[in-house]
């Protein structure tokens, strides 16, 4: 076993995912399958190999960011338009601080 149901429950907490008991059981089976396949990578000696974090282009292109100048952005009304709950120009969430 690469991963137990208890570990699945812990990882689900980290990922903010509510899983049912059935889902937890099935998840442990699936993740074990996948992680066993992933073990394959240990056959490879990667000592001294640079990790590839992004696609690096062969050419000599320079990374050029756009000038940092103020420009019109999304207004509050548009930004809030898809919120399940909003009011007074803010997203509303369940109470976080006790008064």
């Amino acid at each position: 076993m690469k991963i137990t149901e208890r570990e699945v429950t812990y990882v689900a907490q980290l990922g903010n995912l509510e899983l049912t008991e059935d889902e937890t059981r099935r998840m442990a089976v699936d993740l074990n399958d996948i992680l066993s396949h992933i073990d394959k990578l240990n056959e490879l000696d990667t000592a001294g190999v640079e990790p590839m974090r992004q696609v690096v282009y062969g050419g000599g292109e320079a990374l050029e960011l756009r000038a940092d100048e103020p420009r019109p952005v999304l207004g509050a009304e548009e930004a809030l338009a898809n919120a399940p709950l909003a009011g007074s120009g803010h997203f509303k969430v369940p109470r976080v601080i006790e008064r």
């Binding site: 903010n16 399958d33 992933i38 190999v49």
Partner: protein, 480 residues
């Protein structure tokens, strides 16, 4: 407008039809919308048609034509857009319950460039939830059916885009590709599908799945149409810092070029585990290219066998981070049971995400969690270097690589849903191109005895879309 054969039109026919006044852009858009609405129940390719927006775009084309202005290279062309790409004010669900009512406040750059070129966006196409899947069975809005056999999957995750183009309810479509999600459905549905170089097309407005792997690209019924759509959407965009500052060129202008002397590599690792008909059809395609004067030689990409493992670490790690934003605060859906902030996150995500998304969030969270980062994520990034180097070495010897797209043609609905690992392994031949970031495409190369389409994959050097299209153009011409 029954005299407009909307199901079989190509871009050039539309341009000449508009300019000779055989039909107006509005007439064409009306016919295309009616055709899509009538045909869609067969495949479930579209999730939403946006008639008003389409007719508005068509009207602008007609006005330009009436005023003698150039209406753009895609004037009047009915196009479908995968539902992971934002369209201002038009529902964009990403195939997820979580975004059931999401109306984006802005257009993706690729969408804007299409409309600036005169294209008429008909609607949004079905896909696997957040583009995670190889069969389109992970959509919260029901699977898409393959137009060639309605009991089979269209492939995924851009299954709706491929099916719409194959079915004739769009002339071209935008898809997205992270591990094969354009090429595999293109091959299953018998259309052309292009994954451009990483950085070639802006991802501004593409809902993020795995940021170091995500691409936007076109699907169409001909190589010319796919090349033209790519020409329109390609190029640096200052709204996407990862879009490359590399000159784009005319991909349509190389389609008639000679391919004599071009060196083509056949990677032996891609031909060992194939359905026999798939292998035969791809080799027939190779023979056509050889007949046109290309030099074919065997090559080796020795780390191919590690690609699936490498990909499912990197893609899920990035996905677990990108999908963290769906927490019940900003995007349309929140669990009604939540009484605290923490339970709002957990319940919204637990009830909102489908099984495959949950599996990938879990795997990604696990491989990034304390104590596992080096063993999994860092290791995978190093193996990614080895896979990219395989291609670099190969491209020192050859100008392009030909390979199958998928080990087998379209499978039956439900056939692989119970075994995620088996589904993942079927992505082996497409994942490698995404990991390396090179341009690759699927070109139809024939049908199996049962009538299922098969695609041949062409892979080329970074930013050598021209070389890739040159081969695709020559092949299409010779095989017609």
């Amino acid at each position: 407008m029954s005299e407009v054969p909307v199901g079989t039109l190509d871009i050039r026919t539309i341009q000449s039809g508009l300019r000779t006044r055989r039909f107006s852009a509005v007439e064409l858009a009306q016919a295309a919308l009616a055709h899509a609405e009538a045909e869609n129940p067969k495949t479930n390719a579209y999730l939403e048609l946006c008639g008003e927006r389409a007719l508005g775009a068509a009207r602008r084309v007609d006005e330009a034509l009436a005023a003698g202005r150039e209406p753009g290279p895609l004037a009047g062309v009915p196009v479908a857009v995968k539902d992971v790409i934002t369209t201002r004010g038009v529902r964009t669900t990403c195939g997820s319950r979580l975004l059931a009512n999401f109306r984006p406040p802005y257009d993706a750059t690729a969408v804007r460039r299409l409309e600036d070129a005169g294209a008429v966006i008909l609607g949004k196409t079905n896909c696997d939830e957040f583009a995670m899947g190889s069969s389109n069975e992970n959509s919260a809005y029901g699977p898409v059916r393959n137009p060639h056999d309605l009991e089979r999957v269209p492939g995924g995750s851009s299954g709706g885009s491929a099916a719409a183009v194959a079915q004739g309810t769009a002339v071209a479509a935008l898809g997205s590709d992270t591990g094969g999600s354009i090429r595999q459905p293109a091959s299953f549905c018998g259309v052309v599908g292009v994954t451009p170089s990483y950085g070639r097309v802006s991802r501004y407005g593409l809902v993020a799945f795995a940021s170091s792997l995500d691409h936007i690209g076109p699907l169409a019924r001909s190589v010319y149409d796919a090349a033209l759509v790519l020409e329109v959407i390609a190029g640096r965009d200052e709204m996407d810092a990862t879009s490359a500052q590399v000159a784009t060129s005319s991909y349509t202008s190389v389609l008639d070029d000679d391919i004599r002397g071009l060196r083509i590599g056949l990677p032996k690792e891609y031909f060992t585990d194939l359905a026999s008909e798939t292998g035969e059809l791809v080799m027939k395609g190779v023979a056509v290219l050889e007949g046109l004067g290309a030099e074919v030689r065997p090559i080796s990409l020795p780390h191919t066998d590690y690609a699936v493992a490498c990909y499912y670490i990197i893609a899920t790690a990035e996905a677990s981070s990108n999908l963290a934003r769906y927490d019940g605060v900003r995007y349309t859906t929140r669990s009604a049971q939540a009484d605290s902030l923490q339970s709002m996150y957990r319940l919204t995500r637990g009830s909102g995400f489908g099984t495959e998304c949950k599996r990938r969030i879990m795997l990604g969270t696990y491989v990034l969690s304390h104590g596992y980062y080096d063993a999994y994520y860092l290791k995978a990034q190093k193996v990614r270097t080895l896979i990219a180097r395989d291609f670099e070495k190969a491209f020192a010897e050859v100008d392009a690589i030909i390979a199958p797209v998928s080990p087998s043609p379209a499978f039956r609905l439900g056939e692989k849903t119970n075994d995620p690992m088996e589904m993942y392994l079927s992505d082996i031949y497409t994942i490698t191109g995404d990991l390396a970031g090179i341009p690759c495409m699927s070109v139809p190369c024939g049908f199996t005895a049962a009538g299922l389409p098969v695609g041949m994959q062409i892979l080329a050097r970074h930013f050598d879309e021209s070389g890739m299209f040159r081969l695709a153009g020559a092949y299409e011409r010779a095989s017609r």
